[in-house]
Structure formats: structure tokens, C-alpha cells
């Protein structure tokens, strides 16, 4: 089908973009990569009166490390995060996550900030940014504000952004120590929405004990979820098979899935358990490899 008729504006600056959002309010939608927005407009599920295309705003492009964190501009495409040779080794979860999103066409157009703003609980970035303890900066008519990822998602397809706010960038803390990550996703076919997704990010200190553990879950609740108790369990510990199994059980308890065509709630919860166990096993193997290399 064709979308409903709409107006299209393409501001050249962030200021103009915010002005457009102020002017059109709820009638406007921000267009970045368009990989979620355009399909739902073509199904006439969404029918915004105005599209505000932010692709011509230079300050939203690129990424850089400053201070203690990585800043990723809102227009950064998934493919950049998948392939960039500087980023991928140091932020392995970004690379793993980006590489498993949809298909190459979507990855070439879709953006990390657009995905977060869309707030689909099955999306890959929400779970990954939870595991990474990320944040976003947004610009609105009242200026900039920073939102921790845990505070961004309110409900299915709902964030705490105001109608006149645009995500301008994503922040990821710079890892310290050794880092390993795993991203596991069950999908019915490639490019499908996740049946269950698990994002794991682990940093170890000098002793080899876990200094930082992040476990994000996709598609098992109204928003992306953090498996907080499992994370807490891991910190300060060595990754042993017993500990991994315990963390996997705790992570499954954190899931709050709904039964649907992709499987029952019991099924999805158990997949969280299986994936966290497999993922942490892979993380342990990778950390062992990294330690061996650096020794």
C-alpha cells in the first residue's frame, strides 16, 4: 500500500528541526533511517501529517570518544557500528548487535538513535544499550537533557521523549579492563523480529574477577529489560559453570514475556535461560582467549 499523504520538511540544523517539531507537535514524526517508520506508514498503521527529515543535520553524524565515553551521533547507521575497525574490537557488543540487525539493506539505512526512539521491545539496540549502561542526549525546545537508558523506555513503542525532542546522540561508557560480549537472538527467519534476544557485556578487572556485567533482554517484556539480579550476582565473581547457570536462572526470572505466535511465555523465558547460559559461556571463552593473548 501507499502511505497517507504527508508533508515533508528537511531542516539543515538541529534548531530548525526542533522548531518544526514545536510547530507540528504530535502530527510530526522524525525521519532518520526510516526502517521502522516507513513500513508502518505504508501499512497505514502510522499516518503522520509531517515528516521531519533530520538526515541533513551535520552535527548528528559520526562518532567520537571523549573523556570516559563514546558518543555516537544519532544518524550513525547500524552498518557503521558493524564494520568500523576502531570501534568493533573495543566495543564488541556494538559490533555484534549491529551485525545481527535485520538484513544488510536495513543496516545500511537504519540508525541506532532511530531504533531507540522507536522503542520496540524486540529491537536489538535497547537490550544492548542496557547491557552497556548507555545513555542518550536529546534536544528539545527547552534545551539538551541526558537520559540514562534505564529511564528511556516507558512502555511498548513509548519513550519519555517529549514531542519536540530529538535524540541527538548515544553515549556508551568506555570499557576498562578486558571486555567480552555476546549477542544471541532467536528469530523465525533472518530479519524477523526477535522471538527472544539477549545482550551480554562483561568487563573484568586485573584479578580476572568480573568488574562490570550487563545483561539486556529483548522481546520479553513491554520494553527492553535489564536482568538486574543476574548482573549483581556476577559482579566480583569468576565465571564458573555453576555461576553461569545461576545467573541464567535469575535472568529468566527477570523476563516478563507474553505468549504469542512466536511461542508461549514459558518458552521465551526458558530461551532467556538457555541464551544467557550459552552467551556467558561464550564470554568466558573469549575472556580466556583475551587473557592468554595479553599474557
Amino acid at each position: 500500500m501507499f502511505p497517507n499523504a504527508f508533508e515533508y520538511v528537511a531542516p539543515a540544523s538541529l534548531e530548525e528541526a526542533v522548531q518544526a517539531l514545536v510547530r507540528y507537535g504530535d502530527d510530526a514524526k522524525v525521519l532518520a533511517g526510516g526502517q521502522s517508520l516507513l513500513p508502518i506508514m505504508k501499512l497505514r498503521v502510522a499516518a503522520p501529517a509531517v515528516l521531519v527529515d533530520i538526515n541533513r543535520i551535520p552535527e548528528l553524524a559520526g562518532f567520537r570518544e571523549d573523556g570516559q565515553e563514546l558518543w555516537v551521533g544519532a544518524l550513525t547507521r547500524h552498518a557503521t557500528l558493524e564494520w568500523d575497525q576502531d570501534l568493533v574490537p573495543r566495543y564488541p557488543l556494538l559490533g555484534e548487535t549491529a551485525g545481527s540487525i535485520a538484513d544488510p539493506l536495513v543496516r545500511n539505512r537504519g540508525t541506532i538513535a532511530g531504533s531507540l526512539a522507536h522503542a520496540d521491545p524486540a529491537a536489538d539496540w535497547g537490550a544492548a544499550l542496557l547491557a552497556l549502561r548507555g545513555a542518550v542526549t536529546v534536544r528539545g525546545s527547552r534545551g539538551d537533557r541526558r537520559i540514562a537508558i534505564d529511564d528511556l523506555f516507558l512502555d511498548v513503542l513509548t519513550t519519555n521523549l517529549e514531542p519536540d525532542e530529538i535524540i541527538t546522540g548515544v553515549h556508551v561508557p568506555r570499557p576498562t579492563g578486558h571486555v567480552a560480549a555476546a549477542s544471541l537472538k532467536l528469530e523465525r527467519k533472518v530479519g524477523d523480529f526477535a522471538v527472544v534476544g539477549v545482550a551480554l557485556h562483561v568487563e573484568t578487572g586485573a584479578s580476572g574477577a568480573i568488574a562490570q556485567a550487563g545483561i539486556g533482554l529483548a522481546a520479553v517484556g513491554p520494553t527492553s529489560l535489564r536482568a538486574r539480579e543476574a548482573e549483581t550476582l556476577l559482579v566480583g565473581q569468576q565465571l564458573t559453570p555453576g555461576l553461569i547457570r545461576e545467573a541464567a536462572d535469575l535472568a529468566a526470572k527477570a523476563a516478563d514475556p507474553a505468549s504469542d505466535q512466536r511461542g508461549s511465555a514459558d518458552y521465551k523465558r526458558d530461551i532467556v535461560r538457555v541464551f544467557v547460559e550459552r552467551g556467558l559461556g561464550a564470554v568466558r571463552d573469549r575472556l580466556t582467549g583475551i587473557r592468554a593473548e595479553s599474557a
Partner: protein
């Protein structure tokens, strides 16, 4: 630049497809590529309810939208006696709803506008007030007393469409009672959809001054559609010109006539302008013909040695709101009576009851010769259950029951005469390709380690090539097919056939057949199909019928050309007719092979230098009425590994040995096998058009109706045995549907085989990971 294909004696050679020179460069010419001057666009307003009374339709706002030219409702069509139309199955179907709607997404109004976007806007502005009615989704519930009668237009106050049976019930029941072993299984073949990448559509271009309709349509059967249109719409048939351009996949979806077609024709007649209707993906999946939806119950009796004694099948066929199947008229359950498969069963009985429900109408034969897929799936699954019960290797059980090769032609207990086959050799070849005994040893070792590996076998027999005129017709029209060959003075040939390919490769394979018969190269022959003003009458392409019917016509028309050519050759060689020999490439004088003329010299002579009294020209037409159907068959073996943690099934290997008789082009056959196996894989693991209790379609787009990509698709290993059909002019049988018919059971049998030691005998397809996981959990298997 076109490919040069100048190899002599092209029959049986892997010649590259002639049509690909344009298709792979994006230079095909599909329906939606056609834009006519002054063309308008049609969009349909569809019902959100599965069953509801229509209280009121208000078209005021739609008509007021600038750019809208016409809004049609069922009431408008009723004035033309066109609010209902006949289906090919002898039922009738609403074009635009009057009184009530019977399925979600049913066509309620049509809006014609300057652009497609405007037409869709207009369709949204048609206001319809509905009063929801009780919905019947479950076909078993549809037959219960007290179930709402859906089709109030019929005299019968029942949701039963038909009861059909075949075989000897009393003898079958007696044989089952006396059998040492009887297995029972309920086998469901769920509702799926052919989902061609190009959806259905048409352009109706009525010219009032000429009182002539040109109808461009995505049609697998353009002549049949012309005749149906003449009968339904009352237009003179010679003033209907049907053009079926390049088709982006059909798979049976493009055999029926759809409400959108009729609406577009009425709109063009009303407005005297061309009107295009092309369905969106959702419309395709939700309203134009599903396939399958058979609920089957099987009993298979056997003696202790595994010799089957009797087969009994009871089936409920869910046709949705209208029986819009495209089966030959005398076969309401298609050729389901092929259900005895490749086996020599002494007695069998099958019955099918067709049922109305509040779902989209159908069902078409999706890459299947009319319900053969359902039959094949049933018997191949049932044989698996019997093997489990007897603790007999499923390959061995099949060897013990195959129709022996020396018994052909074989008369089946349900009335078919199988032409030829060598089933044991075909299965043995598949087993050899895999080293089957080694796989069974590996399976035992893995099982001991707690790993789940399965091997599934399907040894199917198809029945294709409808068909002989004494048995097969559609609305009275006999199911022959045709070919006309014209040889131009320079020896180049144009051939036209009554079939219409949609990716099958006819432009190459039929050129090979004709070139072989005429001593030419494939490059010398152009094959043209799909234009009713130029092609001879034929029934179209579906049910793997093209090669068995039109392929036979092509060979026989070419032989007619050659017969005349022989006389001209005699004249050129200055010998008597009886002294001319044909060596496959040239005519020679008997006993003097150096005195020879080729077909191009003969062709020139046919226009320039004829024997006295001979009619000029070199052409022939043949209408081929096949004496019997053909029975392609194969042995498919799937090897799978199951992930105990997720229930996901990985197809490690898949071997397909097909016997389709004489092979015209092995590369085209392999292509057909690969495509059909991929569809069979999707049916086994990914696809179902499911509904919730309110009759909402749960797979209305490619987000939820899953089509496999290269990532999911297994690697296919193909092999062949060749047992020619004894009655076909070149011994060919048809192959396009075999992989879709035969493979779903191989996949399902493999998964069940992996779990057989747990006591599992059946899991309904599609084998989604969660379904396998549920079974594993029930049996205490976990990671």
C-alpha cells in the same frame, strides 16, 4: 545481447534459459510495468470483520475526494447481475459484498481514481456500518448442530459443501479389522499461501468504439479466463483479447478469477478508460487463494512383516467462505485419490467433506496437481508411523510395499492407472547418495550422547498432466493443450502454445523439444505464450501439466512439420518420399548419406521451390489430448539435528532423487527442484495462515507469513532416475511440483524420527521451534 544457443541436438542438454537474458537484467515486462494512456487505478475497501451483516454503506466521502472517478458497491454490481461470480469449483463467490461479509478482508467496495495512492485514500473513505455475527473458524465446529449457517444464499441449511468418497469402504474396514497391526494418526496440513513475489493484478481496457476489451492479467490460464469472462460478463469472446505478460511466480495463485478482476472490468466498461488493479501483499495473503487446510485422519493396517493390508482416510477440507478451488469439475477433492502413493495396497477408501468457514476462499493447488500434496503428505507420514509401530526401518517398510517395477502399468485400488516407475531403484539411489547405513549408525551414537538427530524419508508418487478429455474438464472445457509451429523461409521458427509459463522455463525447454524434432538449435526457435489472439487454445500452466500436455503437442506439431518437410526434401533430393531418411539433423537420400538437406533449406523451398501441387508454407498445429496422466515420483531424504535448548531444527542434508521420465533440460529440472524444495521447507517449518477466534488473519504480511531466504534454505543435493512415460510423445512426465509435493513429509518424518525414541509419532507442521520445544519439555528433554 541475447545468449547464442546454437548447439545441435539440444534435447537433454543443460542449456541456459533463453528468458533469463531479459529477466535477470530487469527487462521483463510484468503487469505492473504496463501503463496505458488515460489509465485509472482501482483499490478495494475490505471488511475488518470475519462475519458481519452490512447495515449501511456510505460512499459520499469517497466520491467527493478529488481525483476519484467511480465508487462501486455490491449493489451497483447487482444491477449488472455481477455481485456474485461462479468459481471454477462450481460454487459462487461474492465480487463485492451484499448483505453480509463472510471473511476478514473480503471485498466490499471498489474505488477508481487518478492514481493508486488516491484510490487507496478513497477506499479508506468508504464508510461501512457492520453488525458483527458469530464467527466460525474451526471446520469441525462448522459441522456441529447449532453452528451458524454461513452461506445463507444456499438452499442447504448446512456448512457442508460436498461429501466425496472413493474406494471400497466395507472391504477396507474388514481388512483393517483383520490386520495384525493398525496405526491411526491425525495429520493436519495447515492453510498456506502460494505467495508469488508478484501479486495478482490486471488492467481492463475497454474500447467502446470497437466494443472490444483488452485484458492484461496475471493469468496462468489466459484462454480459460477469456472463455469464463465471455460466459460471465456476456461479452462476445472474439472481442476479448487476454494478454498475460511476464509473470513473477504463480504456483496456482493465478489460476482463479478474483473479485478485483471483475471490479476492474466493470469499471473500465463504465468509464471507457483503462483501469488497473494490482493487489498489495496483504491483499494477496488474505484474500486471493490460500492452499491446503486439510484435516486428515488415517488408518493403516499391516501384517507383522509390514505388508500394508488397507488404508482408510477421512478428511475435512476447510474451503473458507466460498469453494474457490480450481479443481477439475468432476474432482471436488482434486486428485486426492492418489493417496495410496507409491505402494501396492490391496484395498483403500478415502472420503473428503468440504466445509465453509469464515476464512478467505479457496483453496488452490499450490504447486500441486490438485490436492496431491495433501495426499502425499498423509501417506508418507502414515508410513512413518507404521514403521515406528513395527520397529522397522522406514526405508525397509517402503521397499516391502512398493509397486514392483514389472507391475506397470499399475491399476491402483482407487482407480488410477500409473504409467511407469522404478520406485525401489529411486529410493536406493537416494540412500546410496547419503550412505544411509552410516547415518543410522551416527544417529545411534548421538542418541547415546543425548543428541537429537533424525532421518526422514518420503517416497512420493505424483499424478500430473490433467488431462485426458474423458475424465478432465474445467467448466466443461476439456483439458487438452496445444502448439502451433510456423517455420519461416529462412528456417527460423516461432511456436505458440496454450500454456503460460511463470518461471518454468518454457521458452527454453519447448524450444529444445521443437528444435530436436526439426534438426534445429534452440536459438532457432522462439516460444511465445500468453496472448489469446495469437496462441492456439489451451488450458494453461498449473498442475505440472505443461510438459505432459503442451509438451506433447509441441513434439507432435513438430513431427507434422517434419512430415511435410520430408516431402519437400524428397523433391529437393530428387528421390521418392519413401527414399528419404531423417538422421536427427538432416534429410538424406536413402543409401547416399552425402546427399542431404537441412531444415532451413527445406523451409526456404516451402516458400520458393515446391513440388507440383503442394500447398505452400511450413506450419502445423497440434491439439494434444493425452491418453493418460503421468506419474512422476521421487525419493527424498532429510537429515536433521534438533537444538534441545530452543527446539530449532537444522536441516543438515537433503537428498532429492526425482524420476520425471525423459529430462528435456537437466538444469531447468534442477532449478524446479531447488525452488520447490525451498517452498516445501517453508511449509514444513515456517508457514501457516492462522486465524484467531474472531477470524482475524494472523499472517497478513511477510512479517508473519515467513518466506525463507538464502540464510534459512538448506543445501539441496539432487539426483535422478529416468523411467520414461510410455504414452507421452517424448516420455516426459512433468516435474515442477514434485519437490513441493514430496518434501514436507521428509522434513516432518526427520523431526519425528529424531524424537521417535521418546514415543513421539506426530508433530503438526509447521515445525516452529516452540512447537518442538513443547514436545521436548513434555518428554523431560532440556538443555
Amino acid at each position: 545481447m541475447a545468449l547464442e544457443i546454437t548447439e545441435p541436438r539440444p534435447m537433454g542438454k543443460p542449456i541456459k534459459r533463453k528468458e533469463d537474458a531479459r529477466l535477470v537484467r530487469g527487462q521483463g515486462h510484468y503487469l505492473d510495468d504496463i501503463k496505458l494512456p488515460g489509465m485509472l487505478y482501482l483499490a478495494l475497501t475490505r471488511s475488518p470483520y470475519a462475519h458481519a451483516r452490512i447495515k449501511r454503506i456510505d460512499t459520499t466521502r469517497a466520491k467527493a475526494l478529488p481525483g476519484v472517478h467511480l465508487v462501486l458497491t455490491g449493489e451497483d454490481l447487482a444491477k449488472l447481475n455481477l455481485s456474485w461470480m461462479p468459481t471454477l469449483a462450481g460454487d459462487k463467490q461474492m465480487v463485492l459484498a451484499t448483505g453480509k461479509v463472510l471473511f476478514q478482508y473480503q471485498e466490499v467496495a471498489a474505488v477508481v481514481a487518478e492514481s493508486r495512492a488516491l484510490a487507496e485514500d478513497g477506499a479508506q473513505l468508504v464508510e461501512v456500518e457492520y453488525e458483527p455475527l458469530p464467527v466460525v473458524v474451526d471446520p469441525f465446529r462448522a459441522l456441529e448442530p447449532g453452528a451458524p449457517v454461513l452461506r445463507e444464499d444456499r438452499e442447504e441449511a448446512s456448512n457442508r459443501i460436498f461429501h466425496w468418497e472413493v474406494g471400497d469402504q466395507a472391504e477396507t474396514d474388514a481388512a483393517l479389522r483383520n490386520s495384525a497391526v493398525v496405526v491411526k494418526e491425525r495429520i493436519r496440513m495447515p492453510r498456506v499461501h502460494p505467495a508469488p513475489l508478484e501479486p495478482c493484478g490486471c488492467i481492463a481496457d475497454y474500447n467502446a468504439a470497437r466494443a472490444h476489451l483488452t485484458w492484461y492479467v496475471t493469468s496462468q490460464a489466459p484462454h480459460a479466463h477469456r472463455t469464463v469472462l465471455a460466459m460471465v460478463a456476456g461479452l462476445p469472446e472474439h472481442k476479448i483479447h487476454v494478454i498475460s505478460p511476464d509473470i513473477g511466480g504463480g504456483f496456482g495463485n493465478k489460476v482463479p478469477v478474483f473479485p478485483g478482476y471483475v471490479a476492474a472490468i466493470v469499471a473500465s466498461l463504465s468509464l471507457n478508460r483503462p483501469v488497473k488493479w494490482v493487489e498489495a501483499r496483504t491483499e494477496n495473503l488474505t484474500s486471493t487463494n490460500f492452499a491446503r487446510d486439510y484435516h486428515m485422519e488415517v488408518q493403516l493396517g499391516a501384517d507383522r512383516q509390514g505388508r500394508v493390508t488397507a488404508l482408510r482416510v477421512t478428511t475435512l477440507a476447510d474451503h473458507g467462505a466460498f469453494d474457490a478451488a480450481a479443481d477439475p469439475t468432476k474432482f471436488p477433492a482434486g486428485l486426492f485419490s492418489i493417496v495410496t502413493g507409491s505402494y501396492d495396497f490391496p484395498v483403500a477408501y478415502a472420503e473428503v467433506d468440504g466445509v465453509y468457514t469464515n476464512k478467505a476462499p479457496g483453496g488452490v493447488a499450490y504447486r500441486c496437481s490438485f490436492r496431491v500434496t495433501e495426499a502425499s503428505f498423509l501417506i508418507e507420514r502414515a508410513m512413518n508411523t507404521l514403521a515406528l509401530k513395527l520397529q522397522l526401518d522406514p526405508a525397509e517398510l517402503r521397499f516391502r510395499n512398493f509397486i514392483p517395477s514389472e507391475r506397470f502399468p499399475y491399476r491402483s485400488p482407487l482407480g488410477w492407472t500409473y504409467d511407469s516407475g522404478n520406485y525401489a531403484a529411486t529410493l536406493q539411489k537416494a540412500l546410496d547418495m547419503l550412505d544411509y547405513p552410516a547415518l543410522r549408525r551416527e544417529q545411534a551414537e548421538r542418541r547415546a550422547r543425548g543428541e537429537l538427530m533424525g532421518i526422514g524419508i518420503s517416497t512420493f508418487t505424483e499424478i500430473v498432466g490433467a488431462g485426458p478429455s474423458n475424465t478432465f474438464d474445467i467448466l466443461g472445457i476439456k483439458m487438452f493443450d496445444s502448439c502451433e509451429i510456423r517455420v519461416h523461409p529462412t528456417g527460423k521458427v516461432i511456436a505458440r502454445l496454450g500454456t503460460r509459463h511463470q518461471g518454468q522455463g518454457h521458452e527454453t525447454t519447448f524450444a529444445q523439444v521443437i528444435a530436436e524434432e526439426l534438426g534445429l538449435t534452440t536459438d532457432d526457435v522462439i516460444v511465445e505464450e500468453g496472448d489469446t489472439d495469437t496462441a492456439p487454445y489451451g488450458l494453461g500452466t498449473y498442475a505440472s501439466r505443461s510438459t505432459p500436455t503442451a509438451g506433447g503437442a509441441a513434439a507432435l506439431a513438430a513431427r507434422r512439420v517434419r512430415d511435410k518437410a520430408r516431402k519437400i526434401a524428397a523433391h529437393l533430393l530428387e528421390v521418392r518420399d519413401t527414399e528419404v531418411e531423417w538422421d536427427g539433423e538432416r534429410f538424406t537420400a536413402a543409401g547416399a548419406p552425402d546427399r542431404a538437406v537441412g531444415m532451413s533449406e527445406v523451409a526456404l523451398a516451402a516458400y520458393t521451390n515446391l513440388p507440383a501441387g503442394m500447398e505452400p508454407g511450413l506450419e502445423a498445429t497440434y491439439y494434444y489430448d493425452p491418453p493418460n496422466l503421468t506419474f512422476p515420483n521421487g525419493a527424498y531424504v532429510a537429515v536433521v539435528d534438533i537444538d534441545k535448548g530452543t527446539g530449532a531444527v537444522k536441516v543438515r542434508r537433503f537428498v532429492a532423487v526425482d524420476d520425471c521420465g525423459t529430462v528435456i533440460n537437466p538444469m531447468v529440472v534442477d532449478g524446479q527442484i531447488h525452488g520447490g524444495l525451498t517452498e516445501g521447507f517453508a511449509i514444513a517449518f515456517m508457514q501457516e495462515i492462522a486465524f484467531d477466534e474472531e477470524g482475524n488473519c494472523l499472517a497478513p504480511n511477510f512479517m508473519d507469513y515467513l518466506v525463507p531466504t538464502a540464510v534459512e534454505t538448506p543445501h539441496w543435493e539432487t539426483g535422478r532416475t529416468v523411467t520414461p512415460s510410455p504414452h507421452h510423445p517424448i516420455g516426459a512426465k512433468g516435474v515442477g511440483e514434485s519437490p513441493n509435493v514430496g518434501s514436507p513429509a521428509a522434513f516432518a518424518n526427520a523431526v519425528v524420527d529424531a524424537l521417535g525414541h521418546l514415543g513421539v509419532t506426530n508433530i503438526d507442521i509447521p515445525l516452529f521451534p516452540w512447537k518442538v520445544w513443547e514436545v521436548l519439555r513434555q518428554h523431560g528433554v532440556t538443555e
